[in-house]
Amino acid sequence: VSAGDALAADAVRPNRLSRSVLLLAPTLALLLLLAAGLGDDPSARPAPAQGRPMPAFDLSRADGGEVRSGRLAGHVVVINFFASWCEACRTEAGALGGAAASHGADVRFLSIAFMDRAGDAESFHRASGHPWPMLLDPDDRVAIDFGVAGVPETYVIDTRGIVTERFIGPVGRDSLDAAILDALATGGSR
């Protein structure tokens, strides 16, 4: 191998190296970026409903009568979407019941059955010991209007009828209390 060949080989090596880096670096950066995106749960982002007026509804109560959203104006409202087949819904029953008991008449609690049979949902609601009305949404139309993507989901609405908070999964007592207090504060006087 002549000296000239060796020099030429030395000149080629860094060139190849820089070309490989040029190809690999952006590919690696893109893969890392996409991998980071995989860890993101878009359904856990704030729902579009948040900050907007509560969707209007007119639903039948399981125990008779009906509830119209228009008649809830002036109250902080907590709406809990649940199902009898949902195990996580059992775990949050205590937090919901505790919050309802501590806030009393200031806050209206409602449960709406989601993708469930009326009888099963009613039995579940009764077994939970919740004193508030359970509403039937047979076609899940109200759930679609709220943007419900699973159960349990809990929405807090202030006295102006604006959705101020959405909880995905079983709600905790502390976070629910904080959201209710925020809604009571932001909604102003009734």
């Binding site: 893109l30 970026l33 996409l34 995106g37 993101d40 878009p42 359904s43 982002r45 729902a47 579009p48 409903a49 993708m115 076609d139 899940d140 139309r141 759930a143 679609i144 209007d145 709220f146 943007g147 419900v148 993507a149 699973g150």
Partner: protein, 157 residues
């Protein structure tokens, strides 16, 4: 009779012809996919919209393919809205207003969606550049092939 074409030139032209035909096929397919072949019925349009939407309670299945009661109701809603004269865009907006862009099976053109689209485009471009480089390399006489060293047919006569 004079041909004046080398073997490499012929190969290069054939490759270009294949590339142009391939590009035309892809463009034709995209046009048919986007524009359609004619006026669709309401159930067909409803199916097409439901195909674009993610079933909220299944995540990886479209509203069209899901058997859940929620997806069924979403399909009913789509069809009812089409019958009431709403456009496809209005119906898609109805669902994105409630669920966000997440409800669309095709990623949106913003945020990570933009990266997904851009990376797909980048892969296509990189592949095209790679193929072009290979063609150039193999289409240019290198002197290794004795056939390349031969003069064109016309010159040999």
């Amino acid at each position: 009779m004079t041909l004046g074409i080398t073997a490499n030139g012929l190969r290069s032209r054939t490759l270009w012809l294949v590339a142009v035909l391939g590009a035309c096929s892809v463009l034709g397919w995209i046009t048919l996919d986007r524009v359609g072949t004619g006026p669709a019925t309401i159930p067909e349009r409803a199916r097409a919209i439901a195909d674009e939407l993610r079933c909220p309670v299944c995540r990886s299945v479209s509203v069209a393919d899901s058997t859940t009661p929620l997806a069924r109701e979403m399909r009913r809603t789509i069809e009812a809205q089409l019958r009431s004269g709403r456009s496809t865009e209005e119906i898609v907006r109805f669902f994105t207003d409630r669920y966000g862009a997440w409800i669309l099976l095709d990623p949106a053109g913003t945020g990570y969606g933009a990266i997904a689209w851009a990376s797909a485009l980048g892969v296509w471009l990189a592949a095209a550049v790679g193929v072009a480089v290979l063609w150039r390399r193999h289409g240019t006489p290198t002197g290794d092939d004795p056939a390349d060293a031969r003069p064109p047919v016309e010159a040999r006569r």
